[in-house]
Amino acid sequence: MASACDDRRGEAAAGLARLSTPARQRRPGLLLLPAGVVVMLLGLWGGLARLGYSLPADTSSADDHGILMSLGFLGTLIAVERAVALRRSWSWVAPMASAAGSVLLVVGLPSVVGKTLLLVGGIGLTAAYVALDRVQRSTHNTLMGVAAVGWVVAAALWLADRDIALLVPWLAVFLVVTIVAERLELSRLLQISHRARLVLAFSVVAFVVGAGVSTFDSDAGVRVCGAALLALTAWLLVCDLARRTVRQRGVTRFMAVGLLVGYVWLGTGGALWLGYGFHLDDAVFDAQLHAVFLGFVMSMVFAHAPVIAPSVLRRPFQYRPVLYVPLALLHLSLIVRLLGGDALSSDVAWRAGGITNVVALLAFVAGTAFSLLFVRKRSASSSGKELVVRSKWRDLAGSPTAAGAVIGVVVLVAAVAFANSGRSSADAPAATAGVVNASATTGVAVSLREMSIDPSTVTATPGARLVLRVTNDGTMRHDLRLSNGAHTPLLSPGQTTVLDAGVVTEPLSGWCTVPGHRAAGMTMRIVLGHAAASPSAAPDDAMSAIPGMAGMAGMGSLAGSPPVGWKPVDAALPAVGAGAVHDVTWHIKDVKLAVAPGVTQTMWTFNGSVPGPVLHGHVGDTFNVTVVNDTQMTHNIDFHAEEGPPATAMTPIAPGASHTYRFVAQYAGAWLYHCGTEPMLMHMGNGMYGALIVDPAGLRPVAQQYVLVGSELFFGSEGGVGDYAKMKADTPDAVVFNGYPFAYQHAPLKAHTGDRVRVWVVDAGPTRSVAFHVVGAPFDTVYVDGAYALQADDAAKGGAQTLPVDPGDGGFVEFTFTEPGQYPFLSHAMADAVLGAAGTFAVSN
């Protein structure tokens, strides 16, 4: 020990020479602190990508965001801090390795290079603590050494291809124990009882044990760590120096405020870890990580920067209260992110909070740089007071405080504009996809869910361009990255985007980059070959199924208010026209319709509405339906009531052409008509259907008749066409009567007490049946399959509850309301009623 001590004296003596040539000594810190900031920027870049902002450059920073911020940025920072203290040249290896390793991870070298360098950084830092131990042994230094071992373990597990999500407890050991050890060191300045110190030591040990357990049992380990974090929080809030120094002034108070707020986040994180255990990417995971690593750790960084930055850079630091601005911004935006985004599931709050987190960090870096650059210099004076030496810089910049605020605002605006410009640039290739020759482009819908990618294998035509329409059908956030570098932003549940994979010349693999998801099975392959004519890749539909505009169908609540100007389809049965021949002319057109609150879709329609017009006649009447095809796609009509071979009776109508369908209604009933062009599921799922009502002979007159066409809606991207994958999977976003969820709750159907009401129900599907039911009004008349199943004058006094209507079928019911009031009607298939197959009768006297 004595000799070590002599060494130190010798070095201190050598330090005298250093003081006379300060520039050479400053160099490592001068280079490495900005290098740490660069790593931070790379990490933040990845953070933005994870938040779903599309960024122009293709980097792996999103995958490695957690490592870049913890081992890369903070690891470099902490290693620099120790190197400055230790004053030995080899101690600079640690920060250099971690900074360089982080940059190499992002630039696309084999990841083993970056990972190895990060491991070297951890080992170097551990060695620095061993050297410090030889100078002066202390509990806190030993604890910091344990923390550095946490870095080493995390880096080693990562090098062994352990998923980043599983390394979180070890990353937390590194950062949390380092910080706690520092506070322990300072606690010596307080009157802390031996018992209190034991509590702290026990908590730290428990935390490390929890991390160790997590390596084998993630859930149990995370919970143990959470309990330890709560204990540490309690200790810090009660015993830490910050409680005293917060009463001081200036920079000391700023530091204390940053520390105390950070402790609150540490407790929040501890509760989340303990309460929820191990979670893979979801809202809980987001909150668990960012309470600890942003709320606590970053607040510690903010708090210590006024000490660390001048020590490392050997520049005076002029503290200014404006530093409170980024500090407040960090914590407020974190509250927005965790409370609004994670707890209340607001995607807007999550993204806004997330990007403001980034802005807070950037603003703090700007503010710190400012405090280092613009310093009031001390000079000798007769009074001994400080003189303000006006520097040229300062004159140029005007008031430094104001300039600092301006920098923060500029950074904010730039970051937001940048993130949004990235989004539009990501849309650009998708927009051009619409004009590419269809024969050279393969379009495939891809669905992401827990924990699979469907389809798991996509066949791409060699030399053809492959465009994937990627929808997150799961309940967590997912993305899709291909081995050629093409990738989507992180998609929230329900979000859809278009991924242009480019011209595929070699087999590719794809996966979700969210930690743990790839290992859990979210992978896919793209192989070369000639794709089987799957409906979604059929030339006619490929472009339609891949809308030009990427983006999410910003679906609000299905029961929310319809947009201004919205009107329901008139449900009243139109009267039968004069004569026995009915001539009508319809246009088939693609129309953008509001199909649910906040959702607009390009629907394929008969005459502009979904469902199409109601035809009404008697048995024996002739219908001449002239149809003009105003679209770019072939369509036809299949009238279920007509007879004859489909090939001739249901003549296809080419784009721009027209055709007159002529048939005699031979049978009574509630008939479906629909487009019968393949893929029929797509055409029907996107709105091409309607009702033909042929009155049975002897139909009794009633006061009111309504027609309800049941169907399902499958939202594609906002403004685009329906999602064919959802149609195939029978996973509708809405189940509706007459084209809009809960349409007749917004505009109830009218009826009067004592009046007989007849409701015709036709089910267009494409796949689900309707179980029509009116709450509070049993049916006394039921007509299905071309006959009365029940009649009002039934001698046995039978009643009916639902009118079951299969897809492609129809019928009617009659009933009478006895008292005024609101009577709900619905499809009694309850999951469908929840999705919009419900409405209201408003009954008055």
């Binding site: 400055v84 203290a85 910091m144 120094t245 004076s381």
Partner: protein
């Protein structure tokens, strides 16, 4: 005292007194009251040699405090070079703090 500062080189006590203005930014307490300054010696030629420690060798504040000390002692025209010697023996101990420092840090009794 004032006259001494300006007319000639300061004595050790004057330098120590001046060092009360060098504040540990984390604690808000000056380095003298913290008990970090072990020895101050003003040489005949006006060179000042200071022996001090830090609360722990892992503390990166050494360089920063050296700079602060240099700035602080510029008030003495007679002072030429300032050398700050960081030593670790004896190790700093909380009891080295003055009553004033303890009071500032909230010690009772």
């Amino acid at each position: 005292m004032d006259a001494l500062q300006w007319l000639g080189k300061p004595d050790d006590d004057a330098v120590l007194e001046a060092l009360h203005e060098v504040i540990d930014p984390e604690l808000g307490v000056n380095i003298v009251d913290l008990g970090l300054v072990y020895d101050v010696a003003v040489g005949d030629d006006g060179d000042v040699a200071i022996q001090m420690t830090l609360t722990t060798p892992g503390c990166p504040l050494g360089g920063y405090l050296e700079d602060e000390i240099n700035g602080c002692l510029k008030r003495f025209p007679a002072v030429r070079a300032v050398t700050v010697d960081l030593v670790w023996e004896p190790a700093w101990h909380p009891l080295a703090m003055t009553e004033e420092a303890k009071r500032q840090l909230g010690w009772r009794g």
